[in-house]
Structure formats: structure tokens, C-alpha cells
Symmetry: D2
Subunit: 170 residues, 4 copies
């Protein structure tokens, strides 16, 4: 049984490939779990791969998950999405994912992931990468985490004006 | 304590003015309550007036509410929004509200409400009006309900391919 | 040979059905021609019916025409569109059409036309209807013109802070 | 006197920083000029820096330029934009710039430029960089040109299904 979302909770976008190797999905699942334990909501693009693994990790730890979908049918959401938002906007919905978040954790993906990470920086939102998510790409202000657990700690510290969360879910 | 949202639940948009007279907010609150009792999620623009009254009615009856916000700060959501999605898109977020829904219940509002109702019809989604929501305007396919309770019944019947919900929350 | 567009020129959206009876396309063509004669650019959804007729009238009178397209291929534009903008946004591009304009002339259409007219009012832009474009619908601030020629005169007078154009193309 | 745009012409997005050092604006101006000479239209974000320099180069060589603006006022366009499209979408208009183009030439910029280049690749459009536009970032399918002149040649060759243009403006 998952907890309720809360406008007072921090909301973190988890981005990455819609298909991913086991090393990456394991990291994504850990990210989701740690976000839930820290009381943060998770927003993502709602599909498979990194998105599904992160949602599964979050929900199994009692967290809340939002999927902003490219298509028009909420049933395209992965089964761990608690709240599905179909948009019909295709890849344009990438920008809505980062807009809806206070900060972004990027796992390895393709150019769609990169467009989301770069847009997050354009909007002034903190971005933390795990597993060299963005390859040889570097952008000022993007932090590289050594592990999934560290990524969650770094992103929650980086959100401006909000102290890191002290304990478990509120 | 509200229930969880579910991708399997129907999701109904409630639209109307961001400020509204008591007669209208009472009807909006009833719409929200009846949607919750029927096991449907509620999506709206997340601000005041009709949106706030509908969310309050839904949450107090254990329902789930989504607010797709025009601005960039989730704290602009009314306090009864369970899941707030800031978009930074201004009035363009109206489109996302109706896109995210299976059907629309329209209460009285101004031109923003009308743009949402018309866009819903353009997207082929059923629209039910309460209290002559759209004034002298008529569009084929928009149903006029005699009461808030009837509006919820009509919209759930009008959603294609899904039988009306038989009982209480799932 | 058409003139160049100009950021200094007024830009008027012409909206209406993508298929239309001869009476309506004749009025749309006149609207396009009169806009061109007044030195105003024309923006529309770029497809057939009212949009094509208005573009044809404008181009034949030396005007400039912009088509903001729902699809991803500029070749879906009607042949009288001078500048085609494919968006891939589907019906959502309706809002971009009115956003790009200083004012809107509405000819008869279906709910898509109505959503554009209502969004224009929401954005504070003047709207003039021709041939009872919006049926039984009335919204404060929408002016009804008795003819296509009058519609162009009314919309140019209604644009705030800009005097009606005195003569031919600049 | 500029030529007319044409739906049959290729349309190339030029992206890069809204402020830029002289080396970069010189390259942008050359890109604009060479696009015009090849008969291609130019689309950009419509503001200063790389965008303004590219538009100036294109217009002075008789080309056509489109500016898709972040704000609501067409007067924010640089003076070399022939056709200004205000959107009110802020940074989200980046997406529309690349969507409207057949291919993208990227000059140095910040994260906004990177988000556009990455989104272009996500949409399957060819991207050519000039002056190491994207720093240490590499993405499969992005071509690096040794000069502005070469960039125009490479992008026109890379557009699928359309042979490189044989001569001057049509």
C-alpha cells in the first residue's frame, strides 16, 4: 500500500532509456526506492526500462509515482505508475516531465534522455547523473553521483530553498 | 484518508470558473463527491473556484484528484489537489486537462472553460454540462444535465467502451 | 508575386472548418483578400476549407500567409501557404494559431474552431465572427460582422494600441 | 529584397547561444548566407546572438527567415526575422524550432542549445555542429563540420530523401 502524494513533498524526475541493461535497471530501482524512503514523489515518462524500474522501486517502498505519457491512452503506462497523465504530445512530453519536477536524476539513455537533462538545466533545475548517464557530455551544473544511493542524496541536497529531508515518509 | 489512483479507473475532468458563486461551487463539490463515490479519478486545472470545490468534494469522499497547473510552482495548487503537475504553459494547460481525461463535466465559467469543452469535443471526448455551463452555446454531442448528480451518471455512461461503474470504490 | 511579411505588420488568424460549403469559402477568400489589401499578414491552421480559401484570397492579392500545421510534414500545407510550420502537435496547434495572431476572424466550423475562438478570448485577443460562425454560442467580447469585408475592418479596429491601417500594403 | 519562402524548399534550424563571441557570430552569419545561397529557408528561436547573426546572413543573401519566439510579442524578434511566430511557451518553443526543420546546424550555446540538438536527434533529424558546438558532448548521428561552409553542405546532404540543391536560389 503506497502513501498519498503531497504538494509539500519534493518531486524528482527519473529519466533514462525505455529499454536498459540489468545494471541500469538495478540502479533505477534503487533510485526509486531511496526517493520513496526520503518522502519524495517520483515523476517520469511512464514507459518501460529505466522508468518502469524506478517506479517499481518507489512503489514497493511505499512511494508515489507519476507517469507523463507520450500517447493518448493511460493504459500505456507501466504497471508501477500510480498516476498516469496521457498527453498525446509524443517526445514533447519530455519537457513536461522535467517541468513537473524539482530536480532530475538521469540514468543512461539515448538522445531523449539528453534532451530532458539539458532542458532541466535550461529551466534551472538541478541534475544528477548515475552511471555516466550522459556519456561524454558535460554541462555546467550537472553533478555526477558514484551510486544510485548517492544520487538521491545529492539531488535532495541540491533543490534550492528546501533542506534535505530528515527521515522517512511524512 | 484518500484512496490510491489507478490506471484502471476512469478519469473525469471537471472544468469551470476559477471564481464562482455559491450555487456553482455547491454543484462542483457534489460532482467531485459523486465521482469519488463512483470510483473515478478527477483531473482539473488545479486552482480555485469550481476546481477547488470539486477537489474538496472528491477528497472528502475518499477520491483522488489531479491538478494540471498553469504555472511553474506546485504550491499554486488548491489544498485539495492530491497530485499537482506544474506545467508553465499558462492557458495552454487547458488542453492537457481535457487530454488527460476520459470525459469532461463543465460547470459555468468564462472563455477558458469554453475552450476546454470545445477542445474535448474536438478530441472526441464526451462532455456534460451542469447549470447551463456554456450559456447560449451549443455544440453537437454536449449533453446537458439537470443536476450535479445526473452529470456524473451521464458522463460515466458516455465514456466509450467502458460500462458504468457498478458500485463504490474498487 | 507576394510581398514580404513584416514584424511591423498586424497578423490576423482566420479560423473555420477544414471543409466548408461554397458560401463559406467565398467569404473566407474575401477575408483573405481584404487582409492582404490592408497590409496584414494571415495565420491559420494551414489545411483545407476555410484555411485554404483565405490563403488563396490573401496570396492572390499579394499578401503573406502562415500555416501552423498539426502534422510533421510541411507538404500537408495547402498550396497558398507561404510559410509552413509543421508542429506534430495535432489539435494542440490550434492554440498556437491564435497565440501567433493579434486578432481572430472566425468563419463557420466545428468544435475545433470554437476552441480556437474561445482560447483567443481567454488570451485577451479580439474575435470577429462572420456568417454566425459560432452558431448559437455567444461570448462577451466577440463581435459579429455582417460581411467578410466588415469583419476585416472590425478586427483591425479592435486590435489594441494600433490604429487601423490607412491604405494599401506598406 | 528577400525571396519568398516555399514549402518545397528545405528548412534548416540554426541553433546556438543568444549571446555569443565574435568568432561564433561570424560563423553563424556565414551559415545563414550559405543556406540562403543554397535556396534553403532558415528557422530559429528568433532572438539575439547566433540567431540574429544567422538571420542577418540569410536575409542579406536574399534568404527567408522564421523566428519561433519564446514570448507573446512578435516585436521581441531580431530585426532580420522575416516571419515571427510568438508562442508564449518559453523554453518549450525550442522543441517547435527543431520540429519545424528538416535538419539542424548547431553553433556553440548553453543547455538550451543542447536540448534542441538532442531533441532533433530524438525526432530523427540530422544535426551538424560547427566550432565544437556541443563541447565534450557526443551523440551518435551528430556530424562535426570543420567550417560554417562545410556545415551547410553536410546538412543539406544529410536530409533524407532530398538530393542536395544544385544551384542558387530558385
Amino acid at each position: 500500500m503506497s502513501r498519498q502524494p503531497s504538494p509539500a513533498a519534493r518531486c524528482i524526475a527519473v529519466i533514462g532509456g525505455s529499454s536498459a541493461p540489468p545494471e541500469v535497471t538495478r540502479a533505477a530501482e534503487t533510485v526509486g526506492r531511496e526517493l520513496a524512503r526520503a518522502g519524495a514523489d517520483l515523476v517520469c515518462g511512464g514507459l518501460g526500462g529505466v522508468m518502469e524500474a524506478a517506479c517499481r522501486g518507489a512503489r514497493e517502498a511505499g512511494g508515489f509515482t507519476i507517469g507523463i505519457l507520450p500517447g493518448e491512452d493511460r493504459r500505456e503506462a507501466n504497471p508501477w505508475v500510480a498516476c498516469a497523465i496521457p498527453t498525446g504530445l509524443g517526445h514533447f512530453r519530455n519537457f513536461l516531465v522535467v517541468r513537473a519536477a524539482d530536480g532530475v536524476i538521469a540514468l543512461p539513455g539515448a538522445s531523449g534522455t539528453l534532451s530532458e537533462a539539458a532542458m532541466a538545466r535550461t529551466l534551472g533545475k538541478p541534475v544528477v547523473t548515475v552511471l555516466q548517464a550522459t556519456g561524454e557530455w558535460t554541462v555546467p551544473g550537472v553533478l555526477a553521483a558514484g551510486s544510485a544511493v548517492e544520487a538521491v542524496r545529492l539531488i535532495l541536497e541540491a533543490i534550492p530553498g528546501r533542506p534535505p529531508h530528515a527521515g522517512g515518509p511524512p
